[in-house]
């Protein structure tokens, strides 16, 4: 499903963007459901203080109008072309993720990223705990994001490989101390795109959502795809970063 060039980009950079991966009708149905929820359901659930934009649309987390964006489109087949046929678990939950603008007059700060699964005591995981619990991000834009600093899904290219080398040196147990901050060679990419675009990113990519200085709400759906053996592989994937990527492992080995 993905071209060799797309696979190579994923191996080298740690992410790949696939324009127009989702049919427009499904994107519009999802956007309608999300906008309905924003207005008629509003804030609710989760951690309102620590995760202000994340607690919208909680009732849609497992709604078919959202999960079908993955399970009934080419997304899973595309993921399988990276992770191996039959290796990708169906999506049971995906998070509609509105990111609202900053107040007028406030300058956006520079993007700041993180790795998932590292506890800090206020993100649902106890400080000192950590877990590598998924294989890939799959992000779908529900509305156009034409400019940076618009709440874009943001990645630090090549950070997956930088962290792999870092964990080989330091041991992944260093994560007990919190998010490590090794020097990264590449500046962040605030991914622009159109409604219906899909982004895959390796689980070990430093990532974030940049501040939104645009007039519009950034509308995206995010899920964390899991290899069928994710629980077995567990934290070994911090250093063996291509273990769950049968579709690109040969390219990764050739590049190393």
């Amino acid at each position: 499903m993905l071209t060799v060039a797309q696979k190579q980009h994923f191996v080298d950079e740690g992410y790949v963007q696939i324009p127009g991966a989702i049919p427009t009708a499904m994107i519009e149905a999802a956007r309608r459901a999300v906008n309905h929820s924003i207005g008629e359901v509003g804030m609710g659930g989760e951690n309102a203080e620590g995760n202000r934009s994340g607690f919208f649309c909680a009732e849609l987390l497992d709604a078919p109008v959202i999960t079908d964006l993955y399970n009934r489109t080419p997304v899973i087949a595309m993921a399988e072309s990276l992770m191996g046929e039959g290796n990708v678990q169906p999506v049971e939950r995906a998070k509609p993720y509105p990111r609202f603008p900053l107040p007028p007059g406030e300058d956006p700060p520079e993007p700041r990223g993180h790795l998932d699964g590292i506890g800090n005591g206020s993100n649902g995981t106890a400080k000192g705990d950590y877990k590598r619990g998924f294989t890939a991000f799959a992000v779908i834009y529900l509305a156009d994001v034409p400019e940076p600093y618009s709440g874009n899904f943001t990645v630090w290219p090549t950070s997956h490989r930088i962290f792999a080398d870092y964990f080989k040196r330091e041991g992944h147990e260093v994560l007990k101390n919190g998010m490590p901050r090794p020097e990264l060679p590449e500046p962040p990419v605030m991914i622009t795109g159109k409604a219906g675009d899909l982004v895959f990113a390796h689980h070990q990519m430093m990532h974030g959502a940049c501040a939104n200085a645009s007039p519009n709400v950034r509308l995206a759906v995010i899920t964390r795809l899991k290899h069928k053996d994710v629980e077995v592989v567990g934290n070994d994937a911090y250093t063996d970063i291509w273990r769950e990527w049968a579709g690109v492992r040969d390219l990764a080995e050739a590049a190393s």
């Binding site: 149905a29 459901a33 207005g39």
Partner: protein, 201 residues
Amino acid sequence: MLSNEQKQEFYEQGYLKIPGAVPPSMVDEARKAMNYSIGAVGQTGEDAEAFKVAAYCHELRGEPLMTDLFNRTGVMDAAECLIGKGKVLPCENVQMAMRFPTILDDDVPEPRGHLDGLGNGKNGMAKVDFPHPAVQVTGKAGDAVIAHHQMVHTGGPNASPDIRYAAITRLRHVDCEANGIEVYTDIWREWDGVRDLGITV
């Protein structure tokens, strides 16, 4: 300035759309403030059950960011063309009127209009037959619509994927209080700029 054709259209139809009346930068800034408020402030104040749409963005109602959309743009010029030079009170209060999409599988009802200011406990009105079907006004960001106070109107149902953003104010003639309910029948009393059109028609 409005053309004679635009004035005539207003006189005959009761409303007029003015494309691009508000500069994009002002529209963007207002939309940003509204979206920030939806996300960071949320539903507040008033009667959230009866006025769900109006429950958002209360803190913005008197902000220059919003009132300037009317007071410092072509909107006020257009209004004075219709109502008369110096006859329009400055806008002090704006209703941020978001209209959110209906539930995905719900049938879309036909628009059902009302006149403002008719109290029935829930701010409604008796059903009346009209000769023309409702016009669901389409447009672009920055377009303005001026409608006579006696127009039956509403926010149409939203079966689109997107939030309908609008800022609505109710402009007042300087003699609005003095004229009072007489304008229910003398509907051009406060419209110096178009009253003469009625003489020739």
